[in-house]
Structure formats: structure tokens, C-alpha cells
């Protein structure tokens, strides 16, 4: 069977499917090109970005922290509700803001005690999300937001 397969593929490709295979190689070239894309992280460390771009699509899935499933009593949609739960249950530790950007001591402590960062990095705990780890770039953005006071901004 495998011998027939190995001879059939080139024969078929050489005849009717060369255009299709060209498309496939073009697709691969596009993916390879895009894989190298990107530069510095200029995304806003704001809850109004983090909630819809990172938290909701990765954490508020229907079997986990959606309003329907409410896994472990945690609902991470919509943004306001997610913020209230994350902060009230100390997954995210907030700091009061001041005109100079907040108190340094509190913000240093907030990064060290916000449980969400340990869960996402699986540091001494299970991984969240449990099916697919987030890129560190996303976790670092959340850390930056926490280090700036974790405001509902």
C-alpha cells in the first residue's frame, strides 16, 4: 500500500494537481513569512484591551469561566463582571492610583501576590488556561497592567 502511495503522489501531482500544490506551497510560504512578523509590544496595558483580547477568548470559554459554566464560581465575561470577580477574589490585587501613578510599594506587592500570574505561568499551581498556555507576551502585559495599579481602565 505504501509503495503504491509513494508512486501515486508524484504521478498525480505532476498531472492535474500542480496548480493546487503551487497554492499549498504559496500558503506555506505565507505562513512562514508571517511567523517572523512582529516587533515590540505596544499593546495597551489596559483592562479595556486585556479583557476582550486575552481574558474572554481564552478563559471565558463555554466549559470554563463563561457566564453559563461559571467554573469554580468564576465568571470572566463581560469585562466589568470579570474585573469585579478577579479583584474581589484577589486573583488580581489592585492599588489605589495617585497623581504620580500610585504607590510603588503597593504595586510591587500586587505583582507578587496576584494569583492570576502564578496560574497562567503554572508556578506552584495548575496551569490556566488548562488546555493551552498563553504566550508569555500576554502574561507579561497583564503583569504590566497589575504593576500600574490594575485599574478598570
Amino acid at each position: 500500500m505504501s509503495g503504491r502511495l509513494l508512486t501515486a503522489i508524484p504521478a498525480a501531482c505532476a498531472t492535474r494537481s500542480s496548480f493546487g500544490l503551487s497554492l499549498l506551497f504559496g500558503f506555506l510560504a505565507l505562513v512562514a513569512c508571517l511567523a517572523g512578523c512582529g516587533g515590540a509590544d505596544n499593546r495597551p496595558a489596559k483592562w479595556s484591551y486585556i479583557a476582550p483580547a486575552i481574558i474572554e477568548p481564552n478563559c471565558a470559554t463555554v466549559s470554563c469561566h463563561s457566564a453559563v459554566a461559571q467554573r469554580a464560581g468564576v465568571i470572566l465575561e463581560p469585562a466589568q463582571k470579570a474585573y469585579d470577580i478577579l479583584t474581589s477574589r484577589h486573583f488580581v490585587v489592585t492599588c489605589p492610583t495617585s497623581t504620580d501613578g500610585g504607590t510603588t510599594t503597593c504595586m510591587d506587592m500586587a505583582v507578587g501576590t496576584s494569583e492570576i500570574l502564578y496560574l497562567m505561568r503554572a508556578q506552584g499551581s495548575q496551569r490556566m488556561p488548562p488546555d493551552q498556555a498563553l504566550p508569555e507576551a500576554d502574561i507579561h502585559l497583564i503583569q504590566t497592567w497589575i504593576s500600574q495599579g490594575a485599574q478598570n481602565n
Binding site: 492535474r16 493546487g20 508571517l34 512582529g38 495597551p44 463555554v62 466549559s63 496551569r127 493551552q132 508569555e136
Partner: protein
């Protein structure tokens, strides 16, 4: 097939059907179509094997014949294995899946081992002339319940019952125009069963994210178009309707052209507007069947532009799938590569996945599926692992 085995298999099938009926009220997940069957099974359109013009859920009589005669190694693909045929105005079906998995993403509880009921959905279709009412009823699945025992899994089944599809359709013939109104997945993309694939999870088609739609479409032998206006399931309705995903309103268009019953190229676009987020996406789907090699190539690529109004920020995403599947009757062996780039302007936000899949169809109504998935992410914290893996075995029975 030995004649001595047949009565045994027949009795076994009936037993499985009865057990399936009992399980049906217990657990649920989701089924869409197998796009791998297009061209490879001798059919060119999804709507040939499914009542839905874009594929998925309830199988048509043609599809049931294909299941027994072309895809499986034997058996009768008819409802209840041919023991009883519903009247012409009624079509019934069901999907039951049991799964075992090993999931390794690093962390304290990894690798995770689980055995769980994955899906139990009952499909009904009532037809009158060119009109039909289609309803799917099941229970929302829970992979990781607080109490994983049998009693723990069954105690709240009533609260997890939901209907992820219910729609009215006017479709006077297998080809030609149709109109569909109700809840279902709008036609878009490759429409895989596996919701974890990036091209499903990141384009608005994740698990239970069916929207309320009004679709018009036209299906011909060599081409088809589908246009859909949609609105999200309101969060104020009971959980029976299972609102999930972004609260978007918008539209979807999908057009597919087929060539020589061996290839297809589709273009697609989707716009979804939510209160603080807007998504504009477009892409292409390609399918190529090489008969001599028994190989089917499937590919999809989408660009997504997201605007976050409150954050005053926009980002562009890229999501893709490229796979090949080898067929012989009763078996399907596939490999695929996937990529999701969360923000094209930010290095380190990419994820890759490599999939291997084996499907075995030993007898009509039965399927064994082995999915192996290896994932990587572009950036990790010091000491963390960039890799993750999933091995999942499914036993699938459809009524």
C-alpha cells in the same frame, strides 16, 4: 463479514442504541461535519450527506448510505441500523462520544488524565413540503466537573440541558436556493468537528458559539454561496439557550467554487460588532483531492482585524490550518499544521500546533478517533515550558 457474527453485532447495535438513549440525557458536547469527506467519499457538497445545506449535525438518507457503503467497513448506516424507519416527515439522529485524554501543559497537576462523556445530542427534523423545523437537544458537556464521579456528573444534568441548534428552513430541493432562520453556525471556514483547532476557536466558531441567524444561500453542483446576518444569543435568556462567545451582531458571507469534483476554493468574510469590540475578518479555504494517492489536502487562512473602541487600539491577527488526510475504506489518517498569530505587530504572540489524527470506522454508526496534538507558543517565562501536548481517544456512536 461472518454470518455468525452478524446477529451478535445486530444485538450489540441495539444494546448500544438503548444505552445511547439513556446517556443522551446525561451529557453533551458538539458535532459539526467532517470536511475530510468532501470529494474523498465521492460527494462534492456538504449538503448531500447532511440536511443542513452547509453540513453538520443530522445526516440525510444519502449520508447514511455513504456511511455504510463507502466510509465504514460494513453495516447499515440507516437510523437504528435499519430496524425501524421513521415516516418521511420525520428524521431522527443522535451523536454520542466518550473520550479519554492525556493533557500536558506543565504545572502542578500536569499531565492531566481524564475520562469523560464528551457529547450527547439528539437531532430531530420535522418536514412539510419544502419547509423543515430542525432541533438539536443535548446537555452542555463538562470536562472537569467539581465532582467527577458518575453521580457528580449526572446530578446537574437538568441544568445543563440546552439546544444549540433550532431553525426553520425553506429548501425546495437539494440544489438551488434556500432560506434558513434560527440558531446554528453560519457557513464559514472548514467547519471541523474539533473546536480546539485555531481556525474554529479564533474566528467566532468555538464551542456553543452558535448565533441566531437569517441565511440565504444558493447551492449548485459546482458552486455555492451563503449569506448570513446574525445576532448573538442574549445573555438575559435562560441557560437552555447557552449564550457563549462575544456578544456580536454582524454578517457572514461564504462562496465556494468546485473544480472537476476534486478541488474547491472558497472565499469568506465575517464582520462582528460588539459593544466595545469589532472584528473584521476575511480569508480563503482550499480543498484538493488526489484520487490516485487517496489524499485530501485542506487549507484555510484568515486575517482578522480587531478594533477595541474603549482602549482606542486595533490589532491584526492571522489564523491558518493546513492538513492532509489519507483514506482507505474504514480508515482515515491525517496530519496538520496550525498557526495563530494573536497580534501580527507584536513578536512573541504566535502559537503553533501540529496534529495527527486516526479515525477508524469499523462498522456503520461506530467510530474510533485518536487525536494527538503538540502545541508550542512563541514566548515563555524563565523556567516555564513552551510546549504542550494532548492525546485524546474518542469512541463515537451515532444513531
Amino acid at each position: 463479514m461472518s454470518p455468525f457474527l452478524f446477529p451478535f453485532l445486530r444485538r450489540s447495535s441495539i444494546a448500544v442504541a438503548l444505552v445511547s438513549g439513556l446517556l443522551l440525557v446525561a451529557w453533551g458536547r458538539e458535532a459539526r461535519a467532517y470536511p475530510q469527506f468532501q470529494f474523498s467519499s465521492g460527494t462534492t457538497r456538504c449538503g448531500q450527506c447532511h440536511y443542513s445545506p452547509s453540513g453538520g449535525t443530522l445526516i440525510s438518507p444519502w449520508g447514511r448510505d455513504e456511511a455504510g457503503d463507502t466510509i465504514s467497513l460494513g453495516g447499515d448506516g440507516s437510523f437504528l441500523h435499519g430496524l425501524w424507519a421513521p415516516p418521511s416527515w420525520l428524521a431522527l439522529g443522535a451523536d454520542i462520544r466518550l473520550a479519554a485524554l492525556r493533557n500536558d501543559v506543565g504545572g502542578a497537576d500536569s499531565p492531566e488524565l481524564a475520562f469523560f462523556p464528551m457529547q450527547a445530542d439528539l437531532y430531530t427534523r420535522f418536514a412539510y413540503d419544502a419547509f423543515s423545523l430542525n432541533v438539536t437537544l443535548g446537555a452542555r458537556g463538562v470536562v472537569r466537573p467539581p465532582d467527577p464521579s458518575l453521580s457528580g456528573r449526572t446530578s446537574d444534568v437538568g441544568q445543563r440541558m440546552m439546544s444549540r441548534e433550532h431553525y426553520l428552513m425553506w429548501r425546495p430541493s437539494a440544489t438551488g436556493p434556500y432560506v434558513r432562520i434560527g440558531r446554528y453556525f453560519s457557513p464559514y471556514g472548514l467547519r471541523f468537528v474539533e473546536h480546539i483547532f485555531f481556525v474554529r476557536a479564533n474566528t467566532g466558531y468555538n464551542l456553543y458559539e452558535e448565533t441566531y441567524n437569517a441565511s440565504y444561500g444558493y447551492v449548485d453542483e459546482d458552486w455555492e454561496v451563503h449569506a448570513t446576518a446574525f445576532t448573538h444569543v442574549p445573555t438575559s435568556v435562560p441557560d437552555f439557550f447557552g449564550a457563549a462567545g462575544p456578544a456580536e451582531n454582524g454578517g457572514v458571507a461564504y462562496g465556494e467554487k468546485r473544480f472537476n469534483k476534486m478541488a474547491a476554493l472558497a472565499l469568506q468574510t465575517r464582520i462582528g460588532i460588539a459593544s466595545e469590540e469589532a472584528r473584521y475578518q476575511g480569508g480563503a479555504v482550499g480543498k484538493l483531492w488526489i484520487e490516485k494517492a487517496r489524499l485530501l489536502f485542506l487549507g484555510e487562512a484568515d486575517f482578522i482585524r480587531q478594533q477595541f473602541s474603549k482602549a482606542n487600539f486595533g490589532q491584526s491577527q492571522f489564523v491558518s490550518y493546513l492538513g492532509a488526510t489519507y483514506f482507505i475504506r474504514g480508515f482515515m489518517l491525517g496530519a496538520a499544521y496550525e498557526r495563530f498569530q494573536e497580534d501580527l505587530a507584536v513578536k512573541g504572540t504566535g502559537r503553533d500546533a501540529y496534529d495527527g489524527e486516526l479515525n477508524v470506522f469499523p462498522w456503520a454508526h461506530f467510530e474510533l478517533n485518536l487525536l494527538m496534538r503538540y502545541q508550542t507558543r512563541a514566548t515563555v517565562a524563565p523556567g516555564d515550558t513552551p510546549r504542550g501536548s494532548l492525546v485524546m481517544l474518542q469512541l463515537h456512536y451515532y444513531l
